[in-house]
C-alpha cells in the first residue's frame, strides 16, 4: 500500500470510523473539518512514527506537517528522504 493509502485508511478508520473513501479529501484540513483535536494529533504522530520508523520532533508538530492527508504524506516523504 502507498503511504497515502496507508495514512488515509488510518485516518478514516480511527477518526471518521468509516471505510468510505469519499468521506475525506486529501487536501481537507483535519482541524477545520473537526476531524481531530489535540489528543488525535498525538495519535497520528505516534502512528506515522511507528509505521515509517521516523521521529517527529516537537517543533515539527505543526499544521503544515500534519493537518491533512497531503501534508502528512509530504512530511513522511521528507523525513524518509532525510533519514535515507
Amino acid at each position: 500500500m502507498s503511504i497515502k493509502q496507508t495514512i488515509r485508511r488510518y485516518v478514516l478508520e480511527n477518526f471518521l470510523f468509516t471505510d468510505d473513501d469519499s468521506a475525506l479529501q486529501d487536501g481537507d484540513s483535519f482541524l477545520a473539518g473537526g476531524i481531530i483535536d489535540s489528543t488525535g494529533v498525538l495519535e497520528i504522530m505516534l502512528f506515522i512514527e511507528e509505521t515509517y520508523d521516523i521521529k517527529v520532533e516537537d517543533e515539527e508538530m505543526l499544521p503544515e506537517n500534519l493537518d491533512s492527508i497531503d501534508n502528512l504524506v509530504a512530511f513522511v516523504q521528507r523525513k524518509q528522504a532525510v533519514a535515507a
Binding site: E13, F15, L16, F17, T18, L31, A32, G33, G34, I36, D37, S38, T39, G40, V41, L42, D58, E59, E60, M61, L62, P63, L66, D67
Partner: protein
C-alpha cells in the same frame, strides 16, 4: 458611562474609551485593538438589529474559537440580546436541539461549518442565518454577514436591557443526556468577573493566554477578564498543534496561562523530552478538573516565575472556589475557599449543615448563581434550593467536599454520574443515546475510567441484539456523527451480558468492577 457597569458590554465600552489603540485580542492572523473590537461589535449589533433582534432575543454563535466568536459575543450584548456560544465541534442534531431549545432568532456562523448548520437551518424557516463569507458560496437562505457588516454604522443601536436581564445561555451537559441552557444575567456575569479579577489581580499590562473554548465558563471568563482589566487576550483555537501554541506564547510574552490538567500533562511529557520554559508567565491557573498534586513541581519548572492558582467551578455559577498561589504550596490538595463576595456551604441530603470535618454536598451562595436552566423548571428545582433570604436561591453542586479547620475545601467525589474527560463535562446518558441510535444495540452503558492524560477516559460497554452484528467501529462512528470529539468513547467493549443489581437494574459500579481491568489491560 457608569463607574460600576450594569451591563456586560459596558466593560468593552469603558476599555475603548480609556485606551482605544491598545491591543485587545490576538487570535490567528488577527490583531485587534479595543477600537477595532468595539467597531466590529457595534456593526454586528446594527446588523442584528436589522434582522429584528431585540432585547432578550437569543443569538447562537456557532464559530471556531477565534476572534470573530469573541467579538460577536459583545455584538450580541450591544443589541440587547442573549448570546449562546456553541462549540464548533458540535454536530447537527445537537446544534438543532440548541437552536430550537433556545428559540434562537439568529445564528452566526462561518462557511466551513455550513455542512453542519446548512441542513439544520433548512428545518428552521424562522431562523435567520448570517455567515461570514468573502468569496465562498453560501447555502440557500443563508445571508452574508460580511456584506451586512460593511453597510452597518459603527455606533451601537439603542437598547433598553437592564442588569437583571439575561446576557447568556451557556449550554452544558446534563445527567439526562440533553444539554441544558444555563441562564446567566448581566449581573451574575459582571459579579463573577469582578470577583475573579480581584483574586487573580489582572491589570491592563497583562497578556492572558487561552486555548480554552469560549462556550464554557473557564474559557469565556478569560476573554471577559481581559476586557474588564483593559488587558490583552491571546486566543488559540485549540491545543492541537502544541509547537505553534508555544511559539505564540513566547512571541506574545504572555503573563497568564489558563488551562486544564490534560494540557498540563501533555506539557509535562514534552518537557521531559526537551525542556519547555515560559519565564514571562506570572500566573498559572487550573480549573475544570482537579490538578494532580504530582504535576506541581514540573509545572513550576516550566513556568519558573509563575504562581499557581487552583480553581473550581461549574457553568451554573462560573467559579466557586480558588486557592491562591501562596497557599497552593502549603495545601496542594485543597481547592481553597469561596471566591470573594460569596459563600460555600457543606450540607447533607436534608440540606442541614454537616459537622466540621464531615463530607457534605457543596452548595454555593452568591450573586453569581445562575437564574436556572432555560425552560426547565424541574431540572432547575433539582439544583437551586431556597437560600437564607426570601427569593434567594443557593446552588447545589454535583460534588462532595470536606472542609479543614481553617475553612479550606477538599474535593472528595462527584455526586452524580458525569464524567470529566480532558476537563470537559461528559454526560454518560448523552453518549448512551448516541449508541442506542444503532438498531443492533441491545444495551449500552457508558462510564469513566481513570486515564493519566485525560483524567477520565470515556468507556462504553455494549451488548448487541441477539443474532445482530455490531462492531466497535460502528459504535464509535455513531458517536462521532452525533457528539463532540471529546465525547466519543476511547474504549468500547462488546460483551454478551451486562451485570445488574439485585433489583435487575444496570449498574455502572458492577460493570466497572467486572470489566475495567479488561480495558486497562488492552491499553
Amino acid at each position: 458611562m457608569n463607574a460600576i457597569p450594569r451591563l456586560l458590554q459596558e466593560i468593552l465600552l469603558t476599555a475603548v474609551a480609556r485606551h482605544p489603540e491598545r491591543t485587545a485580542l490576538v487570535a490567528g492572523d488577527a490583531r485587534l485593538s479595543y477600537r477595532e473590537v468595539a467597531d466590529y461589535a457595534c456593526r454586528l449589533a446594527q446588523a442584528l438589529r436589522a434582522c429584528g433582534v431585540e432585547r432578550g432575543d437569543r443569538v447562537v454563535i456557532f464559530m471556531d474559537n477565534g476572534w470573530r466568536c469573541a467579538v460577536s459575543i459583545f455584538g450580541v450584548l450591544l443589541v440587547g440580546g442573549v448570546f449562546v456560544t456553541v462549540n464548533a465541534q458540535t454536530k447537527r442534531d445537537k446544534l438543532a436541539f440548541i437552536l430550537r431549545d433556545a428559540g434562537a432568532r439568529v445564528l452566526l456562523s462561518e462557511p466551513h461549518l455550513a455542512r453542519v448548520f446548512g441542513p439544520v437551518a433548512e428545518q428552521l424557516p424562522a431562523l435567520r442565518v448570517l455567515c461570514t463569507a468573502d468569496a465562498e458560496a453560501l447555502p440557500a437562505g443563508v445571508e452574508n454577514l460580511n456584506e451586512a457588516l460593511a453597510e452597518a454604522p459603527v455606533t451601537p443601536p439603542p437598547q433598553s436591557a437592564i442588569t437583571l436581564d439575561l446576557a447568556a445561555l451557556l449550554y452544558t451537559s446534563g445527567t439526562t443526556g440533553e444539554p441544558k441552557g444555563v441562564m446567566h444575567t448581566h449581573q451574575s456575569l459582571l459579579f463573577v468577573l469582578d470577583s475573579i479579577n480581584e483574586y487573580l489581580g489582572f491589570s491592563q499590562d497583562d497578556r492572558l493566554f487561552s486555548a480554552l473554548p469560549l462556550n464554557f465558563g473557564y474559557g469565556l471568563s478569560q476573554w471577559f477578564s481581559a476586557v474588564r482589566a483593559g488587558a490583552m487576550l491571546v486566543l488559540e483555537r485549540s491545543f492541537t498543534y502544541p509547537a505553534q501554541v508555544f511559539k505564540r506564547m513566547h512571541d506574545e510574552a504572555v503573563t497568564s496561562f489558563a488551562s486544564v490538567p490534560t494540557i498540563y500533562a501533555m506539557m509535562l511529557a514534552q518537557d521531559a523530552k526537551q525542556p519547555l520554559r515560559f519565564p514571562s508567565v506570572r500566573l498559572l491557573t487550573n480549573a475544570a478538573a482537579a490538578l494532580p498534586v504530582e504535576f506541581i513541581p514540573g509545572l513550576q519548572r516550566i513556568f519558573p516565575n509563575a504562581g499557581l492558582c487552583k480553581m473550581y467551578g461549574q457553568t451554573e455559577c462560573i467559579r466557586s472556589a480558588y486557592l491562591e498561589p501562596a497557599r497552593a504550596k502549603v495545601k496542594p490538595e485543597s481547592v481553597g475557599c469561596a471566591i470573594p463576595g460569596t459563600k460555600l456551604l457543606l450540607l447533607d441530603e436534608n440540606r442541614r449543615p454537616v459537622a466540621p470535618g464531615e463530607v457534605g454536598i457543596l452548595y454555593v451562595r452568591g450573586p453569581h448563581v445562575m437564574r436556572g436552566y432555560w425552560n426547565q423548571p424541574e431540572k432547575t428545582a433539582e439544583v437551586l434550593a431556597p437560600g437564607p433570604l426570601p427569593g434567594e436561591f443557593i446552588l447545589k453542586s454535583g460534588d462532595l467536599f470536606r472542609q479543614d479547620a481553617e475553612g479550606d475545601f477538599y474535593f472528595v467525589a462527584r455526586n452524580d454520574e458525569i464524567i470529566k474527560s480532558r476537563g470537559e463535562k461528559v454526560s454518560p446518558a448523552e453518549i448512551e443515546n448516541a449508541i442506542y441510535s444503532l438498531p443492533s444495540v441491545r444495551e449500552a452503558v457508558v462510564a469513566g475510567i481513570p486515564d493519566s492524560l485525560l483524567g477520565e477516559a470515556v468507556c462504553a460497554f455494549v451488548t448487541p441484539r441477539e443474532g445482530d452484528k455490531l462492531s466497535v467501529q460502528q459504535i464509535k462512528r455513531a458517536c462521532s456523527e452525533r457528539l463532540e470529539n471529546y465525547m466519543v468513547p476511547k474504549h468500547v467493549l462488546l460483551v454478551s451480558e451486562l451485570p445488574r443489581t439485585e433489583n435487575g437494574k444496570l449498574s455502572r459500579k458492577l460493570i466497572l468492577e467486572r470489566y475495567a481491568a479488561l480495558i486497562t489491560e488492552s491499553v
